[in-house]
Amino acid sequence: MTSSLTPPPPRIIARLDIKGPNVIKGIHLEGLRVVGQPGPMARAYYEQGVDEIIYMDTVASLYGRNNILPVVEEAARDIFVPLTVGGGIRSVDDIVAALRSGADKVAINTAAIARPDFIREAAEAFGSQCIVLSVEAKRRGEGRWEALADNGRERTCVDVLEWVHQAEKLGVGEILVTSVDAEGTRRGFDHTLFQAVRGRVSIPVIGCGGAGEAQHVIDAVRDDGLDAIACASIFHYGHMPLPELKAALAREGITVRPDSLAA
């Protein structure tokens, strides 16, 4: 029987990478391909019992504009789970606009690397719980990763483990860490990356990049101790629909949030 004595379920998050009006998916954040429309996809994941949705605008940092908000607003109309919006968030005004469109949290990468104090300003204005640091981690040797900017397109020479530590001190409430090396491959997560990041901070960590089967998610929750997992390809392409993934986790004794639509 479930009660508060049961450990809280790890969040299973659907990540939708957005380009213009479409949801796209790539490999290593490149070679993008259209996989659907944000509204219907988000709606379907909500009905399947997803715990949270992340919208990531893949081009906003590149062109310096924000075109994702109408998409978010449309999707947020009848989806009553938390929404995180990232990509091109570079000012307090951008955050205000995202929250007004129905976002609960914003994910910041490029603008925070360019000016770390932006994190502090954002956390002071909206609270730490509203600010997620998005880290695109590229492996640069044993136990070393570089944080990339602009959706994996730009090098920064910033060390991931130093960066997450600094960002926690500046006031971010969560870390979303994406392995660029594993992203889109469906060959499994970079567990050493997840464990290293988790060990470096005391705030919740969301792992992303590489899920191909239920066992990958089970390992990341059980062995790496992650608070949340964000998946894209396995959901978008139907390799492992969300209800099947949750059922597989439950079979391994990992708590999941039951689908309450039927309740």
Binding site: S4, P9, R11, D78, G102, G173, E174, I203, P204
Partner: protein, 212 residues
């Protein structure tokens, strides 16, 4: 006008408004103190820090009208920081006075204990089962599958046990997450973000007979 969503510049009103639309409830979003006199029910959301949120209420002249509505018996639902403001005082970024409708202090969640396998990282972000206190309800019964979504570092530590409706365990301590004193109800979680279970809870508030 039936339901008033209090707008004092500190909330994600969009989701709450969409939730009420979904429930076919007639509502108005306003920060006008006079609206509080007309409202049959009041929903009082909020995000950010306690002191800043309280400042938002003061700037709009909403403190006394909110207290008056509470004392008149208008059903009031505070959500997240809106719930926290119902208490006497807050401790986030220094001590701040609250609305003092429910005696107690808004305090920080207990820190992570490194050796605890069920440790909760702070902020506490995610879906939780609630321990509803014996004899209490949160505007009606919660079902077995009714987890609620939380994102917070502080919680409403009501002084009187009788005002605590539900708790969750955080790093070894039972933390109040739903409080109630007669017609004034506060929930630390986000029913508007807690899927169908959260919508059902909001619906019960809209229909509940909790005037005094």
């Amino acid at each position: 006008m039936t339901v008033l969503i209090v707008d004092y510049g500190r909330g994600n009103l969009f989701s709450l408004a969409r939730a009420l639309e979904h429930l076919d409830a007639a509502y108005q979003v306003s920060g006008d103190p006079e609206m509080l006199e007309l409202a049959e029910r009041v929903i009082f959301p909020g995000v950010g820090a306690f002191g800043d949120a309280m400042r938002g209420l003061m700037e709009r002249g909403l403190v006394e009208p909110l207290k008056a509505a509470a004392h008149r018996g208008t059903p009031i639902l505070g959500i997240c920081v809106g719930c926290q403001l119902l208490l006497s005082k807050g401790e986030e970024f220094g001590a701040h006075e609250g609305l003092d409708l429910i005696p107690g202090t808004v305090g920080r969640l207990p820190d992570l204990r490194p050796d605890d396998p069920n440790a909760t990282r702070i902020p506490n972000v995610g879906w939780r089962w609630l321990d509803v206190r014996p004899g209490a309800t949160i505007l009606g019964a919660l079902g077995e599958n009714d987890l609620m979504y939380f994102v917070h570092s502080y919680a409403p530590m009501a002084e009187n046990e009788e005002h605590v409706s539900a708790t969750i365990p955080v790093n070894g301590v039972d933390i109040p997450v739903a409080v109630r004193r007669d017609n004034v109800v506060g929930v630390q979680f986000h029913p508007e973000k807690s899927g169908p279970a959260g919508l059902r809870l909001l619906d019960r508030f809209l229909k509940a007979d909790i005037r005094v």
